[in-house]
């Protein structure tokens, strides 16, 4: 906006003073804002000079450039579109300040590719958009570029510098820049509850940037940002879940929203490596590929890590942290792919049957992975054998993840059977022995009664008389 004001002032100052006075006299003060608005959309002589060649409508020639990768780069800039764009207050040379006026257009300069041009122009965005560029620099996209990814988006891949409309203005969803790379996910979103609300009903349902942020995009499966994103709009969801869902807070931590709200999705258990001391997810450092090296060495057959290999993996990462921390696993139930995460259904169709997860052999627990945040922010995964979730000896490794019924320790089931059978055997055995001895007890009781009777008779017989005489 400051730029626009400067441009307006510059335009006004370039007009003859008498003309301004005449304009005020004829149109009055009320016309001043209109004039200022008109001045804003006017171009400087320098910009007009640029567009004289670069706008094919003005110059009658479509300027193009052959890049070294064999492709043709259009150098056309539509004056009309530029004036209507958010950058109409920015002079050409504000961004293209490295061009030499003496040689530009006369001497051919080599250009590797369109992407190289975009990369070289990236710095000019910082001048005005410091905050956004900083957010972008922390994103998974910027991290991928630092890692040498030549497809991750640069500023100009999402924002066309010469035609960029206001990002606040409603945009047809097919123009959503994310869709150009994330086609399948975008297609799934367009068909799910949010997409349908936005497209069919024209409501303000969330689109990509509302959940994933436009610039500080993080890997979706890392952290809890997505859950927090859901709760930002669905403020009542926490209480609504508490009203019916036991241990609701734990479910919010251990189950991704999509795991229940995308009812047709496939689910799995993601055991995430965490530092117990800092309570942060472990991340690989650039150039030190510990995770992939260790997991592939421990699982040559690629059958998934068994409990022993998982235990060793945790110990190795704990050793890396030294005495400062211990590496632990925090499990989370999530859907298997980004496409499935965007198949959210209406609230009424969300999974509400506890038995979906809380029974032996439940589908979500048939697939288990262990993950670490990769150096570019994306998770690195390796399969884990599902038996670790039900093994007594893996208890220490997966101590932070437990789902009633489905991940119960099998050995305890056998112990329960043993104890109940053993306890039932006690009365049965005891009663049996008692029954076997009943004759002995009866004989003994009879003898004792007889002895008691004899003793009683003895005690009642007068001295000198034989007790046997009484029977006679």
């Amino acid at each position: 906006m400051n730029h626009m004001a400067k441009r307006a002032r510059a335009a006004l100052s370039s007009l003859p003073g008498s003309l301004i006075v005449a304009a005020f006299l004829f149109l009055g003060l009320a016309a001043a804002p209109m004039m200022a608005a008109g001045a804003e959309s006017k171009l400087s002589k320098e910009d007009e000079a640029c567009l004289k060649c670069h706008d094919k409508e003005v110059g009658k020639e479509h300027l193009q450039k052959k890049t070294e990768d064999g492709k043709t780069l259009s150098l056309d800039v539509s004056t009309k579109a530029f004036i209507e764009s958010m950058h109409n207050g920015t002079a050409c040379e504000d961004c293209h300040d490295s061009l030499d006026g003496k040689t530009h257009g006369k001497v051919k300069t080599p250009l590797a590719s369109r992407r190289e041009l975009s990369k070289s122009m990236q710095g000019s965005c910082v001048t005005c958009h410091k905050k956004k560029v900083k957010q972008y620099d922390d994103s998974i996209h910027a991290a991928q570029i630092k890692q040498g990814n030549d497809k991750a988006p640069l500023c100009s891949d999402c924002h066309s510098p010469h035609t960029q409309p206001s990002m606040k203005a409603p945009m047809p969803i097919e123009q959503t820049p994310c869709a150009s790379c994330h086609k399948d996910i975008f297609k799934a979103w367009a068909a799910d509850v949010h997409g349908q609300e936005r497209v069919a009903k024209g409501k303000t349902a969330p689109i990509c940037a509302d959940c994933h942020a436009a610039h500080e995009v993080k890997a979706a499966s890392l952290g809890d940002a997505l859950r927090d994103g859901c709760l930002k709009c669905h403020k009542e969801a926490t209480q609504q879940h508490k009203d019916w869902l036991p241990n609701a807070a734990l479910h919010f931590e251990a189950v991704a929203c999509a795991a229940c709200h995308a009812p047709n999705a496939e689910r799995r258990v993601n055991l995430r490596l965490f530092d117990a001391g800092t309570n942060k997810q472990l991340a690989e450092k650039v150039g030190v590929p510990r995770f992939l090296k260790r997991t592939s060495a421990a699982d040559v057959a690629n059958m998934g890590l068994d409990e022993r290999a998982l235990w060793s993996l945790l110990n190795e990462f704990s050793r890396d942290s030294g005495s400062s921390g211990q590496t632990i696993l925090r499990g989370r139930l999530e859907v298997k792919s980004g496409v499935q995460a965007h198949q959210l259904a209406e609230k009424g169709k969300a999974l509400k049957d506890c038995a979906t997860c809380h029974q032996q052999g439940a589908e979500p627990f048939q697939s288990v992975i262990v993950t670490i945040a990769g150096p570019d922010g994306r998770p690195l995964r390796h399969g884990v054998q599902k038996d670790v979730l039900t093994s007594l000896t893996a208890m220490e490794s997966v101590r932070g993840f437990y789902a009633l019924g489905s991940t119960r320790v099998k050995l305890l089931d056998y112990l329960l059977i043993l104890v109940v059978c053993g306890a039932a055997a006690v009365p049965l055995g005891h009663m049996t022995v008692k029954w076997a001895f009943r004759g002995y007890r009866e004989r003994r009781a009879a003898e004792e009664r007889a002895a008691a009777a004899a003793a009683a008779a003895q005690s009642t017989t007068p001295p000198g008389q034989n007790p046997g005489d009484a029977s006679r």
Partner: protein
């Protein structure tokens, strides 16, 4: 036989509430653990019932504790602080249950107001009520709201460890309750001890009368 008042009302209320509660906890606990294999309640009903009964029994525990702490009846748990006598009595009691009872020997333990329990009972009930039951209640409360008590759960080794302790004690009680009911039937009649826990009056031998087998 004479009648002796050995089970005061608070003890009887506690006992039967506890007994009924434990049966419910075992049934709902089994349901929670074996969804799909057992169908006594829905999972959700079992969770809600398990939690409520658990809290009722915690309150009931304090009724028991309060009664014994604030009355002289606490003596029933340790009528004499003599380890030698205690172990001798325990041995005699084990000998009776394992051998003498088959032969028709008299029960070596004679009930009186402050000697309600035999040596085995007094030790077993003290272990259960002062160690096992509090651990079970504490682990149950932690599992009731894991997120709320996450710091304690973490310190104890994680939710899986806490749950395993809870399940181990559950398994113990599954066995205990069977043996407890059977031993209670070994009075002078099979129902004598059950009646005593309802009326409060235990049948005891008349002074000078021969001991009951």
């Amino acid at each position: 036989m004479a009648k002796l008042y050995v089970n005061p009302l608070p003890v009887r209320i506690w006992h039967w509430l506890n007994a009924f509660g434990f049966v419910l906890l075992i049934l709902t606990g089994v349901q929670l653990r074996y969804v799909g294999q057992i169908d006594l309640f829905s999972f959700h009903t079992a969770v809600v019932l398990h939690n409520w009964v658990g809290f009722v029994l915690i309150a009931n525990f304090f009724l028991w504790l309060g009664f014994y702490l604030f009355s002289d009846k606490i003596k029933v748990y340790h009528p004499e602080l003599s380890p030698a006598k205690y172990f001798k009595a325990s041995f005699r009691q084990m000998q009776y249950y394992g051998y003498g009872i088959f032969r028709g020997d008299p029960n070596p333990h004679h009930v009186s107001v402050y000697r309600k329990f035999n040596a085995l009972q007094s030790m077993m009930y003290q272990i259960i009520m002062m160690i096992v039951v509090p651990i079970q209640f504490a682990s149950g409360v932690l599992l009731w709201d894991v997120a709320r008590f996450s710091a304690i759960v973490e310190r104890l080794g994680g939710v899986r460890v806490v749950d395993t302790v809870h399940v181990l004690i559950f398994i113990f009680f599954c066995g205990f309750i069977i043996v407890h009911v059977y031993l209670a039937s070994l009075g002078h009649t099979p129902t004598a001890h059950f009646k005593a826990m309802i009326t409060g009056y235990e049948d005891v031998d008349e002074p000078g009368a021969p001991a009951q087998h």
